[in-house]
Amino acid sequence: MAKIRGSIVIDIERCKGCEICMVTCPTGTIKMAGQVNHKGYFYAWPANPELCIGCANCAVVCPDGVITVYKTKI
């Protein structure tokens, strides 16, 4: 059976670290980074990229629109 796999790209300089994407992600792909961006926010990053299913929930709730989502079947 084909598996759905996704991948996200996060523009870390625009991220404000609100954590809404992290709690929205159904698979626990996104975590907050341990370091800050130039604005001083702990930005979101795909800590477990192999879990991403490309559902785009993170991108839909992201207030600042920093997340781009790709999805494919393998």
Partner: protein, 269 residues
Amino acid sequence: MAEVTGIKDYIRPENLVYSKTRLMTDNVLHYCPGCGHSTAHRILAEIIDEEGLQQDAIGISPVGCSVFLYNYIDIDWQEAAHGRAPALATAIKRLCPDKFVFTYQGDGDLAAIGTSETIHSCNRGENFLIIFINNGIYGMTGGQMAPTTIPGMKSSTSPYGRDTVRMGFPLKITDIVATLPGTYYVSRQSVHTALNVRRAKRALKKAVQYQSLNRGTCFVEIVSNCPAGWKMTPVEANKWLEENMLPYYPLGDLKVPQPEKDLNPGSTD
């Protein structure tokens, strides 16, 4: 652009499922982290892009947190005096009847200082769309109590919670305009979860499409959060919104257009 990526093999143009719409400019939004305004801007820009209205849209930006809205969406804008956005939209729509005109207002702008303009323009059935962001507080000026502050909610001018005996009851202005004959479509949505963002986008898109029929005012309320004004983290604020705001402001369509034959009982088609 500094960015972090997931698995790079999947990042190909044909696999793209979601990216920021080209109508949003590259300016960094000035809102606090987690603010619902930013999400509302984004879905509005996506809808204008999908409907192909970039050339025809004229927005009225309000006074309040969203005063710089004209910096973020790449369409024509006009800035209104505080609360007077529906009056300005009336003028623009009457002068340019083939344009898509909308106002974007917060609760201080629409439900406090601009109550009269809002109610009268809805009652006249002016053909523009009103987007109302309700976060129950005056966010920009420091979290004072607004007409939409729910009973018991703490704000900087009601530090022990809103006491309805002394301070009165919240104004459900969306319910009021739904009773007016001039409105065509009235809906209340929220943007605190992915599901609700998708629903809000669907409702807003419907409102934009109905607006092209020019049959009356369309009114979409978006119940939003204000993490800074509520003194919470964005995640806590969204949880608080769901537990406290939504029971008072239930989501859904308050007024949907009647089929043509119901409006004209005499007609045969």
